[in-house]
């Protein structure tokens, strides 16, 4: 679970008036900031987020570390009404963001900067590729992660080339080089959002930028096999039965898995014999089951017999594809066995035993207390004697 202080740098240059990202670049960016804020704050109760602009008269911090959505919205509103203008200055903005992060209250938070770039590269001092790489190294040295979201005019032309050749291409765009150099242990990402039907915030939420935060609230067993593979990897979709890539939307994947499990459970409860039959269909059912399971099945008696066979089949079936199903049926079979045993055995006998145990414990405790009192009395008496 990432424990992070995040500084969001937004682009408020004149380029943001463009309407190619509906309704306008600036508003799309505001939605995206909102998304990032909510995701970061929800992923850990200690996380904080700040926001600053990087164009206008100069980079300006609007909100320092906060968990208050109102302050973020207010800042975004101020930007929309008053602060559009000028050209971006990425290096200065990042330097200021780093300072702001440095003065976070909780020093245990890791530092992260998220930069939204919707303007073309400028010739501000320090904006050339070499200086950016230098700045990236400095950030890496100070343990600051950087995510860059480039859209609109922020998309660089070399992008497609570098995407094809892969991350190791050295002809990559300055922004990609920047992120590659700042990344330590794959903690920094560059996200390119093309204009079109997808919303900026939608693209963000399924991106690696927020993947770690979104996966944080989901229990390990529901995350699926593709959890530790890189997000947005096509291969992971093959392991997942519902036809979507679980790493793209972990919450949806969790919901799907949960409802599948519930449906299975309902089905099994409503129609246990049918479940047993369906599990019996593979040829190697109870014969292939380990002898212990066969023994169990035999011991289960008349009531549990069918379910016991199902259990055996389930064990044999575990290597197959519907592992969850098999486990569930095994559990059901076991519960049936217990029912059967309860009927056969004298129920009161068992209860009596338990009560007896409890009584013994009580007796033990009473005896121990009595001993303790006795010992303390003795000590007191001895002391009294000494006193005399």
């Amino acid at each position: 679970m990432p424990l992070e202080a995040t500084m969001i740098i937004i682009d408020n240059s004149e380029y943001m008036r463009n309407g190619d990202y509906p309704p306008s670049r600036l508003e799309a960016q505001a939605d995206a900031v909102n998304t990032v804020f909510q995701t970061k704050v929800d992923s850990n109760p200690e996380n904080t987020v700040g926001i600053m602009t990087m164009a206008g008269k100069g980079p300006e911090v609007l909100v320092t570390h906060t968990r208050d959505l109102g302050q973020i919205l207010k800042a975004l509103h101020t930007v929309a009404t008053e602060k559009i203008g000028g050209a971006i200055n990425i290096p200065t903005a990042i330097a200021i963001a780093q300072l702001a992060l440095k003065h976070r209250e909780n020093k245990n938070l890791r530092q992260r900067i998220v930069v939204f770039v919707g303007s073309p590269p400028t010739d501000a001092p320090g904006s050339d590729a070499a200086s950016l790489v230098k700045l990236a190294k400095k950030l890496k040295k100070n343990n600051v992660a950087v995510d860059i979201v480039s859209f609109g005019d922020g998309i660089e032309e070399e992008e497609e080339v570098s995407m094809e050749v892969g991350a190791e291409a050295h002809s990559a765009s300055p922004l990609r080089k920047f992120v590659d150099n700042a990344s330590s242990g794959d903690n920094s990402h560059l996200l390119v959002v093309q204009p079109g039907s997808t919303l900026l915030s939608d693209a963000l939420i399924t991106s690696p930028v927020l993947a770690a935060d979104r996966a944080a609230g989901i229990p390990e067993e529901l995350q699926g096999g593709g959890g530790d593979a890189g997000p947005s990897q096509g291969g992971a979709a093959n392991d997942f039965e519902f036809g979507v890539d679980p790493s793209l939307d972990p919450e949806l994947a969790m919901a799907l898995r949960l409802s599948m499990q519930e449906a299975n459970a309902r089905e099994a409860v409503a129609n246990p014999s049918a479940a047993g039959l369906s599990a019996d269909q593979p040829p190697a059912s109870s014969a292939a089951a380990p002898s212990t399971n066969a023994g169990q099945a035999a011991a289960a008696g008349a009531v549990g017999a069918g379910a016991g066979v199902a259990a055996g089949a389930a064990v044999a079936n575990i290597d197959g594809d519907d592992e969850d199903d098999a486990l569930l049926q095994q559990a059901l079979a076991l519960s049936h066995e217990e029912d059967g045993e309860d009927v056969e055995m004298d129920g009161s006998d068992e209860e009596g035993d338990e009560e007896g145990d409890e009584d013994e414990e009580d007796d033990d405790e009473d005896a121990a207390i009595a001993r303790a009192i006795q010992m303390s009395m003795e000590e007191q008496q001895q002391e009294d004697k000494k006193g005399k």
Partner: protein
């Protein structure tokens, strides 16, 4: 001296950190076990450039008398100029100008891991020790440290309560 011993066992490993460390050779590799590191495969390596900034927090106040840093593998990667700072809640590479003490380690000292006497009076109540390694002997891009040892005494007034456990019934 009366009570000279390694105080590595007083390190609070949860707060142990290092800036510019290589993610596969971290400071926890050499100090996480609270003993002087002797395993050959574990060492601390710098990442983006040759500088390192170790932050070592103790679980009580200590007085520090000596410091030993060993880097025996490659003499050119051994740390040379060192600045020591104490008790800074947050520290970055730009905060290292006003050091409590500055040291130049010789190649012999780092090769053998010989301890260097510090100005004892300045290290009387240390909760956190920051070791800033500015450069190395061979002007390499990587600095490597195999082991660190800190020699001193716990501060008299505080007691180590971390060893206390609830008594078993």
């Amino acid at each position: 001296m009366a009570d000279e011993k390694s105080i590595l066992d007083l390190i609070d490993t949860t707060q142990l950190s290092c800036l510019n460390e290589n993610s596969s050779h971290t400071v926890k590799d050499i100090l996480g076990r609270k003993t002087v590191n002797s395993a050959a495969g574990s060492y601390l390596l710098s990442d983006a450039d040759e500088q390192l900034l170790l932050t070592i927090t103790f679980n009580q106040s200590v007085r520090i008398r000596k410091l030993a840093i060993r880097s025996s593998e490659d003499p050119s990667k051994a740390p040379k100029s060192i600045k020591l700072l104490i008790n800074r809640p947050s520290i970055g590479f730009e905060d290292t100008t006003d050091a409590v003490q500055e040291l130049e380690l010789t190649e012999d000292q780092v090769k053998e891991g010989k301890s260097v006497a510090l100005r004892y009076v300045r290290f009387q109540s240390v909760n956190t020790l920051h070791i800033f390694i500015e450069n190395n002997h061979g002007d390499e891009d990587e600095t490597r440290i195999d082991a660190v040892d800190i020699i001193g005494t716990p501060f008299e007034t505080t007691k180590d309560l971390s060893g206390l456990r609830q008594e078993e019934d």
